[in-house]
Subunit: 343 residues, 4 copies
């Protein structure tokens, strides 16, 4: 930690800063330049970052040197983590370390026949994980909010029938047990990325978590939220880039694909991409799914619906099963170039 | 609702659109221009907005005409709402309709003596509502997370001693009952503005809710989140502008003060401003607090700490009690110009 | 300047960094911590900031300590600058140091009678500077582009008749001489804030410049652009906050009023606010104009048109003269509270 | 164009709107719904978009239906445009329609030997266009501003020696002739994307223009700026995505790769990507260059320097020639999958 002292600070102010640092149990290291005095602070930066050093009179800037996350960092775990999704004893899908997750399914679970139809088609196209929402975070209280437990059963049945582990969102700490009973992977949606009680709760579960980036979260924020889950003992976290809010008004969000190599440089956790939510436009999804694989993502999450115009949620951004099948062909060729496998 | 048909759409596609609209129980109204065909759709727009019309083949754009929120709108309630905070029988603080909320206190509740000292000082300076966090949403799992119920008791005691109703954040639906026992007003923090389960839960409570704008929420999103609370029957909602994420890196957030007149034009709900979180800089807080009152805000929320350099949370953005007292003097003069009262 | 060395760097890498610093004529100051090695670099930071130190192998971060601008800084000039607008010998309008600029007029100059009418009305309402565009930066090549020199003459005549110095935009370095012949103050528009050749050109002129903040410029960027003008010898620069791009789609831009106290803390230059472009909505302009004065702005820039529905540019965001007169009444009361004068 | 009338508007207001539309030479088409009256306006939308219809009293919203650009649109020119760069008679490089531009070189031209070295190396790696800046837009007036005409000569010589057409930036309308004498392709930088006088000036030239997206420009803004150039008669425009400003602070900009398929859907113009400026980080450039090709970009623009730590501009974001060569190998494999050629 480096403390830059405001110019024209008095000797008393500087001494007071030095004393506060010592009081907190750290070792200050003063260095007086021509224009500025700088104080290096040596000690456990994790503790230091929690202290309001910037509030000490005379302090101009506090510059942290180390990362704020630990368990999520490459320093802590140098190799790429591989997360396995699926019940033990059954076929499990590996994500990370060269293995691609191909997650597909409708936005919301609407009923057994539709889910069965979509599951069969995405499986045939090459998807290896089935998604669908039973609890839906909707901007309007008047929109369809999901089928709840009935939806979870429908998803589970379709997953078992078509041999795909299932991923579904959990929005409320009180639902974690219920969702855990049916899902192979628990999704934390973008709006809940900083719902810290929910993060702690899924940190207690021993199943993989798919953590989506919040709409205004930096890459560091995303890793700090992963740290919440990891610090509770659940090490099976897969991150997901799904676009952030921006001034561009022709797409639903702005997909920040650079988050993929950015995360991979500093963390061992797998990261996948969701071009459906990132763009909100079926005409852009295939290009961005390809780009994600080429950027090194560990998988692609796509919403597919057999009749988008009748979908109960996010119909306008769903691909048709035939479009998804065409996309999967392209993704397989790119996976090969990138030396990745789709289990 | 207006549907713009893609150029060169076939007669079959147009007919299919018209049929879908009729199937959904609405009345289409076709108008064929030189370059584009446009279909007006007449009926309850609230139902229409839930339908995936944009997913019908041949549809280029779907343009909503009416607002998506209802109970929060001026159309529903033309007069400014006045929210009363405080236990019945005691002195209650009015917010909205010409009455300003002056909310002050530390970021986190740290202990009874500090809280008592700060409460006494902000009360003397003119604050009418006392704030303090017992459950703290912290980016890092390693930061101080709040005192929980002990904190709530300390806050309640300080509020009673100094004659100020108290405001505190609730982060988890499971905490709502507990917080409700101690607080006069429940705060929903920025990170939880779209935690819909939590919104529904505080919608069940019969106490005022302070709903802070999310870091990437539009004004419309904020009003939609208020609609969640209102639609559960709790009509006592006060909104709060507290800055949004932006590229400007010299302030913690970007304060969007235009949200104040923007909300007032379309909603009857009171809206206050929080320059502490919006700027994160004590040197900017007074100017932005003044600006908020001049822009027509129904109150100002400021973090105050008697020793910011020892604060357990957000110390660097707290005002000293003397700075707060100086600010309150300025705000009283501006309140007079704006013909507002501070109860 | 502080250089943070990447963990696990070799001794050779560290030595190479030290050599490069010495080669560049600076003095390195090494400090080896438990987790990181840090190198303080002592010398003229302005020269240092131009060097690609971050590109030296082994360097993790380069942390500048000093500001990148000089002539624009409070360190260089501690007192508020007062800029005087208007021909010597005539009545001049002071901006800054307690004097408010009240700039009003139509977006584009459309003809002598309209300009005369508007000028008379804004003058009567209390404006002290007249604005109008003769060269218009329009997003579309098919929109009205301004009257050019004819427009400048119309503006000049109206200004002389009604006793107001005039402000108008210059977009092209080749127009500077021409515009300089007619204008009392040269405006650099938001889109040209980083048109560095144009900045240098108006830096050669000996008339005040109104420099508007770019749509994605930070406060620091704005001050760096001012530095371009100042470094050419023209010290009469007035800054203008006019909103930046954001995700909020109900206003034209997002007004960052905190830029006002933010600039004032680090620079001596006056800064005014333009709520017309910032919001693009006449229903929000008065509130934001009031907020600007309360935040400490040195003036307010408002577009006024006697018949907005026939305006050739930006009609929808213009105030009517009667609305402007009502606003000026409010602003005068606020100016009094803020202890400012309108000359 | 659709006009939505404010609820509770009077009959007089509606009549006035209808009269104004008729006065302007258009045909109104009224449709009265239960909650809102809507007026369709039939006629040339290009003219309509220039009219301030939103300023007519009683108008709530004006909804344009057609695109604001024409010559840049797919409606105007259905096939992908192919732009040829290079002097007639020499080997020319094709961009668009399946042909990839691989543009490489240093940020700034620093001297003949460095340029010669870099040119030789990027050519060997597979680049087909050589870049280098002689006029540099620098945030600080104290940074290196480029070698001017000397730099242009150096670039031209290196291009001729190594058989690569050259691309360089022009910043000032007064430099267009000079730059045109040396360059095969004129670049308009991000900061000048809305420098309309400069756009018009390069629109007069009969050489290809590389138009970079502004830091806060929407895709529509970018296409409108292209329209300025096209409307002057220069049809050889190549667009470039280079990142936009965002809240993410770990990358220089946020690369909006979805702009690539987004542009391709609505325009015939080629679009390339610049991961160097988009990310500002050599560790992210290769991944984002690959992603760009996979997303369908018509080329990649990368800054390469043989000694980044001594570069006079943007050293920290340059790739080393060896890194560039490794990247080009990957890009060639991806180009094959995408069925594109590098001439």
């Amino acid at each position: 930690m480096i403390i830059v002292v405001r110019p024209h600070s008095t000797r008393e102010q500087i001494n007071h800063i030095l004393e506060r640092i010592a009081e907190l149990g750290f070792k200050p290291h003063i260095s007086e330049g021509e224009h500025r005095t700088i104080i290096g602070v040596i000690g456990d930066e994790n503790k230091l970052q929690a202290e309001p050093l910037a509030a000490i009179p005379g302090v101009e800037q506090v510059l942290p040197i180390m990362k704020a996350f630990k368990l999520a960092s490459r320093e802590f775990h140098a190799q790429d983590s591989v997360v396995e999704v699926g019940a033990p004893g059954r076929k499990r899908v590996r994500v990370g370390g060269g293995h691609l997750a191909m997650i597909a399914g409708p936005c919301a679970i609407e009923g057994a026949p539709v889910m069965d139809e979509i599951a069969g088609k995405v499986k045939a196209a090459g998807a290896n994980l089935l998604r669908g929402g039973a609890f839906k975070p909707r901007t309007s209280p008047y929109s369809f909010q999901g089928l709840g437990e009935d939806g979870l059963k429908i998803l589970r049945d379709a997953g078992e029938k078509h041999g795909m582990p299932v991923v579904t969102e959990v929005m409320d700490p009180r639902q974690v047990d219920l969702v855990n009973r049916y899902a192979d992977m628990l999704q934390i949606g973008a709006r809940n990325m900083q719902n810290f009680d929910l993060l702690r709760e899924v940190g207690q579960v021993r199943k993989p978590v798919l953590l989506k980036r919040g709409m205004s979260a930096t890459v560091k924020d995303l890793l700090m939220s992963a740290e919440y889950i990891l610090s509770e003992g659940n090490l099976q976290v897969v991150l997901c880039e799904r676009g952030v809010r921006s001034f561009e008004d022709s797409t639903r969000n702005m997909m920040d694909l650079s988050a993929v190599p950015n995360v991979k440089g500093q963390s061992h956790l797998p990261i996948i991409a969701d071009p459906s939510h990132a763009t909100g436009r079926p005409d852009l999804i295939p290009a961005m799914a390809r780009a994600a694989v080429a950027a090194g993502a560990d998988g692609v999450h796509v919403e597919v619906h057999s009749c988008p115009e009748k979908a109960l949620s996010d119909g306008p951004q769903a691909l048709l099963p035939t479009q998804y099948a065409a996309l999967m062909k392209e993704l397989r060729r790119l996976a090969e170039v990138m030396e990745k496998t789709i289990s």
